[in-house]
């Protein structure tokens, strides 16, 4: 099996060698404010994040559950603009020049900027991959040099034909949606997806990251062994939400929670 790997895939595969799995926290930017986001990014990198999925707030997050909806609502309760996002990314990419970030945004934020304009700009800001939950395979832009990898999704409803087509264009990592539903849902298990994972593995070396519903050490352990790692989001924003009145306790809690969860 010969496959050209993108620099971002390479980066992830190398990082995976250290611990044997990849850890990708999700952070909705601006929750509860930009300063906290910056501090939390630092903290997540210190806690061992391999990339961070930075979520750009959107008014209509139809793939997100209640926790991440509230996170976006807090983000949008103060001024938000694309320029502020770029300024933020400039700052953190200067601070962490060897780290590759990922950006999650609903399609309209890309559309408003112009898909390619946005991708070009993000690429210059250490963004290795972009995750757009409301853009399925057919609507994705064609890959181009000097752009972040467009991350593809595989879900429990993806049938074999489609799976093959998705995996054949997968770059960066594959986002394995662990369950039918939205982010933050309970009942995480990869058991029903074991075969899917095997099928993907036969076709590609692009790492498989499980997401949706990961909130405990047991979940993380399962994802680290059955897949190549995991994305954890709602649990992080629950802790942010529970500690809005005290940011230093918030950060302490985040550190401890991640210590408890990481295999």
């Amino acid at each position: 099996m010969k496959q050209e790997l993108t620099p971002f895939t390479d980066y992830l595969l190398k990082r995976k060698e250290t611990r044997g799995y990849l850890f990708v926290p999700y952070l909705a930017l601006g929750d509860p404010d930009w300063q906290s986001s910056e501090e939390i990014v630092d903290l997540l990198i210190r806690s061992g994040a391999d990339t961070i999925e930075l979520g750009l707030p959107f008014s209509d997050p139809s793939a997100d559950g209640p926790v991440l909806q509230r996170a976006f609502r807090r983000s949008l309760s103060h001024p938000f603009s694309r320029e502020l996002v770029f300024q933020f990314l400039e700052k953190i990419s200067r601070k962490h020049p060897d780290f590759k970030f990922s950006v999650m945004a609903y399609a309209n934020l890309f559309h408003a900027a112009g898909f390619d304009e946005m991708l070009k700009r993000l690429y210059t800001l250490n963004v290795g991959g972009v995750i757009v939950p409301d853009v399925p395979l057919e609507e994705a832009p064609a890959p181009a040099p000097n752009r972040p990898d467009w991350i593809q999704f595989i879900t429990p409803t993806t049938r074999p034909e489609r799976l093959k087509a998705i995996v054949s264009v997968a770059r960066g990592f594959i986002y394995l949606v662990s369950l039918k539903g939205t982010t933050g849902q309970s009942g995480f298990t990869l058991e029903p997806l074991r075969k899917t994972i095997q099928t993907i593995r036969k076709q590609t070396r692009v790492p498989i990251l499980a997401g949706f519903g990961i909130r405990s050490a047991a979940h993380a352990q399962e994802a680290a062994t059955v897949a190549d790692g995991f994305i954890i989001g709602s649990r992080i924003h629950e802790i942010i939400e529970e500690n809005l009145s005290n940011h230093s306790i918030m950060k302490q809690q985040l550190i401890e929670e991640l210590k408890g969860i990481l295999p």
């Binding site: 959107f58 139809s62 997100d64 559950g65 399925p136 879900t155 409803t157 049938r159 539903g181």
Partner: protein, 400 residues
């Protein structure tokens, strides 16, 4: 540009989670089969005729016509069972759901008319229904909330105190991504990912088909103009589809609300720019970063920041005209139609009435004599009476 499936020109598409793609594929496949199946067609036609009350009349509004020096016809979708055009679509989709072996249907609703029509179709076809409705809309249209429960459905308020139609669509999409195996999402307007805009248009096209036949029978000629209100755009696209190939002006009336500022109206086509929301690329009210704007209309059914992609297309090629009608104009048309013709229209439909008055006025000034127009009366105003009373009593037309 090559014609892409699921697109109207550059508008439409399937901008949803990968999770939902197989269900959309299956729906499109099953729909194409169903509409060729004589037993499906027969059952749908029988329901439309015997249960919903089709065909609806094309009524010559003599008093209005005299006032406006025009020949004004009203397409009486307001006389349908459940009180609006929404039943044309829900019966079609509920039958489709049953055919696909789905046990449960969900719906979003703004004014509650689509929710009631879904609950009704589910009741008669033996399906379970769950309806999402914005909390602000549940307040404005409390009776419709209760009506759905009477019909055996469950209703869930969403989006917090300011929740409206867009919140209901988001929540229905979330539900569907969890329950897609046994649930069909009966999208209530010509919006959402392909194939919904196409399916809903087809089910509503009966409006335009009938109206065209009826006007030819009565007037021996086509109208100069047809008007309809545009929320998501289903009653309008249903009416327009009957006349799109003719030399007839297609006039869509959007909600102009309280003024031009963001948050004060929901005129996506007249004042928005293209974007991507809830499954489709279409005209949207949004800021320069792509955050979708809050919207307002006195009528809950038009209170939506997007619009069906086929309307975006008709606008982009200049085939249809879209105008913005203020709350005040709509309320005035509501009053006039009630007093002059004895017909209390839905606040949504009142926008189409007001737009037609404006158009007739301008057309006559340009020298068109006795303009012949059809206004689509998409629904009746019973649901709005309490809210209009509240506004007229001076409570004001504010958001809560």
């Amino acid at each position: 540009m090559a014609k892409r499936e699921g697109y109207f020109g550059e508008f439409g598409g399937r901008f949803v989670s990968e999770l939902l793609i197989p269900a959309l594929d299956k729906l499109w496949e099953q729909y194409k089969k169903a509409i060729k199946d004589p037993s499906y067609k027969k059952e749908y036609q029988a329901l439309l005729h015997d249960y919903a009350g089709r065909p609806t009349h094309l009524y010559f509004a003599a008093n209005l016509s005299a006032i406006h020096k025009a020949r004004i016809y009203l397409k009486r979708e307001d006389t349908l069972h459940t009180g609006s055009h929404k039943i044309n679509n829900t019966l079609g989709q509920a039958l489709l759901a049953r055919r696909m072996g789905k046990k449960r249907v969900i719906a979003e609703t703004g004014a509650g008319q689509h929710g009631v029509a879904t609950a009704t179709a589910a009741a008669v076809l033996g399906l379970k229904a769950h309806v999402y409705m914005g909390e602000e809309d549940l307040r404005r249209q409390a009776l419709n909330g209760f009506r759905m429960r009477l019909l055996g459905s469950t209703v869930e308020g969403v989006g917090g105190p300011t929740g409206t139609l867009r919140d209901a669509v988001n929540e229905a999409l979330r539900d569907w991504s969890r329950t897609v195996d046994d649930t069909h999402y009966i999208v209530g307007s010509a919006i959402g990912p392909h194939p919904f805009p196409r399916i809903v248009r087809d089910f509503q096209s009966v409006i335009g088909k009938e109206a065209r036949k009826q006007i030819l029978a009565k007037e021996k000629r086509l109208p100069d103009m047809v008007s309809a209100c545009v929320g998501g755009g289903s009653n309008a696209i249903g009416m327009f589809s009957g006349f799109v190939k003719d030399n007839v002006v297609l006039l869509g009336a959007e909600a102009g609300g309280r003024g031009d500022n963001p948050g004060q109206h929901s005129s996506s086509l007249s004042r928005g720019v293209p974007g991507i929301l809830q499954g489709a690329r279409t005209y949207l009210l949004q800021d320069s970063s792509g955050i979708v704007s809050p919207v307002h209309s006195v009528s809950a059914g038009l209170d939506y920041p997007g619009v069906g992609p086929e309307h975006a297309y008709l606008k982009s090629i200049g085939r249809a005209e879209y105008v913005s009608i203020s709350d005040e104009q709509a309320l005035e048309a509501f009053r006039v139609l009630s007093e002059v013709e004895g017909i209390i229209p839905a606040l949504e439909s009142s926008h189409a009435v007001a737009a037609a008055f404006d158009w007739i006025n301008k057309a006559r000034k340009k020298g068109l004599k006795d303009p012949l127009v059809i206004i689509n009366l998409s629904g009746r105003g019973d649901k709005d009476v309490a809210e209009v009373q509240r506004i007229l009593d001076g409570a004001g037309n504010e958001d809560h």
